[in-house]
Subunit: 414 residues, 2 copies
């Protein structure tokens, strides 16, 4: 079955805000075998909304409309659906009482306008919204002679998403033919996109019943496999079989076959080895530490580290000899290695990581371009180091460098 | 004039990828007085695309279609526009030659399919694409008796955006009535949303000729003012007048009236005071340092700091007495202050910042809930400290804490 998601709100037609609810809802819909065929974003104008709703009902079976259910004059979703389907709106008495009770609880007089939120489409079921004042609505109706399922949801994500899960998913699950969906996400680091394509396309294109999505972002490749079948075992088997073939092709580029992040994997290996880690970062300015500490429980293996932006701090916090910096420059293999060894010694961690580079836009020299990064990792058995030159602006260079640094640690721990 | 942006590509109907080109293009269109009335996302099916294109041409004057111009079977934008408008496609000889030259330059045999990219809509102008093989197309035509301007652009952002700027903006500027647009962005930190609304709505709602957008995100409030008039001075004057009234209302919540980021403002004040800064962060795990070092030239005032995740590092890197941690706990006002003073002493910075807290999901005690954060800042004149309890998951608590920490420094430097 095909669905369309309409996000309502003029703010999402500005350069400043984007609909994100639809990503969440798409994942849930795909999970029960419902395709999203169109997404639309419409402003708070009733005429435009009616137009968009009629267009959608002409081309899909399931319509999700998010936003425009609040109490203000700009909230026109109820009115627009009523107009598009030639339905009446009735004011629901128990909903009116609930709105009054809510206002009384806050000790405020309820503005008359608020009562709009108690208006219910002819034939619709109200969907309770525990996180806000506007309830959702569910309509099982016909348009142009075909059955249509329509859900109206509030726009704020913390209202929209729980309401969709609690009220729409069970209703949609009984409406669609039962399908089992198997999903796997594989992840690889630092493999060039063209190389990944060349390696993987000949494999996954032969699995026409598995939908394969490749998503690459600054050195991180995410491969999602989705298979939908009536038989759950058959779906699972196809996904696992393809996953295994992709794993073989990716060799040690692959870092997770279960969708974990690179920082999770690094922490997983550290725990496995009963090791601890500390970092000394210059050009990444805290990004490596920030990624690692974003994982709950990181404190079990990650001690911390130093952001050594100035040369003096490279010496005072990470123990890099000043004369080493003077001789080789702050961005050098020698200093990266000294950072890794120094922070390891200072903190007593078993693994030390050092990152130094030129993020730009300034700081380049005749021999050292913007984007040049030196990374080193050391542990009791020895050390690894590498030099890379990344392209892109300051933010991109920093992201690439952090990704490469985490991958170097992963490979060292593997 | 009203426009619609259609993003073409099945990958943007998955949970994994979202159109972002439209935000860029919306900003540019708004800048010359063109409203975006609808945005649509359509998969790679010709029937769906034709449907979406006809719907768009029925409701707007300007249509921007992004994506679907490549060489593969899935690239159907040219064919769909031709069908929607009953136009023919002709293969452009010079474009065929250019594709052959490109392939020869790469020493590859050109697949026959690639020649699709040389197909031009009847009456269209080819728009050169210096960053890719598929050119854009520009069509000035009629639909249903009305003039319509249609631009076809490649999907990859680094092709789409420069091509839009170089080829579409000049053409659109002459097509729309000349308007001058004045824009100002004001920014405020840590003001509760409800309070901002209450303070500002009575002011900006009286400026009906200025479009005011409020965007709040983890303690950061961005207020954008846009005014479009025939007279540039009149537009500028209205925006400046409203900006001044908003500045008054926001008092010292306001940190920039020119759209700067909070970290830019902190660095600005540091330079102004000829001061340097270092941070010692625990729960934010490097996020404060990462934000500051994301600004080009941060190294002029920011020395660096320590990510002191373990108690031992709080002592060894930031000089917090172990007995202080034992007595008050790592998350305490005393330790925040000792972190600020310790990192200041260790690094020789004029300003020291200390952040310690419980980001969650674990780590809470009977007296210290998840979300509790202590922050302290010190300089030669003294110190400031505060305690906050933030709500939300680990990531949200970390983001709130980093924002609050930067704001505390700003207020100290002000």
């Amino acid at each position: 079955m095909k669905s369309e998601i309409i996000a309502v709100g003029s703010e999402m037609l500005t350069p400043f805000r984007q609909d994100t609810n639809s990503l969440y809802i798409t994942e849930k819909l795909n999970g029960i075998g419902i395709t999203v065929a169109f997404k639309s974003i419409v402003g708070d104008r009733q005429k435009d909304l009616v137009n968009a709703i009629r267009t959608a009902l002409g081309r899909v079976d399931i319509l999700i409309v998010m936003g425009g259910l609040g109490p203000t004059e700009d909230d026109l979703t109820r009115e627009a659906v009523a107009e598009a389907l030639s339905l009446t709106l009735r004011r629901d008495a128990s909903q009116v009482a609930a709105l009054h009770a809510r206002a009384a609880g806050w000790r405020i007089t309820m503005p008359q306008n608020n009562l709009k939120q108690a208006d219910v489409l002819e034939g619709a079921t109200l969907l309770p919204n525990p996180n806000g004042s506007a309830p959702g609505q569910w309509l099982d109706t016909t348009f142009g002679g075909y059955r249509k399922l329509i859900a109206l949801l509030p726009g704020p994500p913390h209202e929209c998403r729980p309401l969709f899960d609690a009220e729409c998913m069970p209703r949609l699950s009984v409406a669609v033919p039962p399908r089992a969906i198997a999903v796997r996400t594989l992840k690889a680091a630092m493999i060039p996109e063209s190389q990944a394509d060349k390696l993987l396309a000949p494999v996954y294109t032969t699995y026409t019943d598995v939908e394969t999505t490749l998503l690459a972002h600054t050195g991180d490749l995410q491969i999602t496999l989705i298979c939908s079948k009536q038989d759950p075992d058959a779906a699972r088997q196809r996904v696992d079989e393809l996953a295994e073939r992709i794993e073989e092709k990716l060799e040690d580029w692959l870092y997770s076959s279960q969708g974990d992040s690179l920082e999770q994997i690094v922490l997983y290996y550290l725990e496995l080895r009963q090791a601890t880690m500390a970092v000394a970062e210059s050009c990444t300015g805290g990004l490596v530490a920030e990624r690692i500490t974003s994982v709950p429980g990181a404190s079990r293996s990650f001690l911390g580290g130093a952001v050594v932006y100035s040369d003096e701090l490279k010496t005072s916090l990470a123990g890099v000899p000043a004369e080493l910096i003077a001789r080789h420059g702050a961005v050098s293999a020698e200093v990266a290695k000294a950072l890794a060894q120094g922070i390891r010694a200072r903190t007593g961690a078993s693994v030390g990581l050092g990152v130094t580079g030129i993020a730009g836009p300034t700081g380049a020299t005749e021999t050292k371009p913007v984007g040049l990064v030196h990374i080193a990792v050391c542990d009791p058995q020895g050390s690894d180091a590498l030099e890379r030159t990344f392209r892109g602006d300051r933010q991109r260079v920093r992201e690439w460098a952090a990704q490469q640094a985490l991958d170097l640690v992963r490979r060292r721990l593997m």
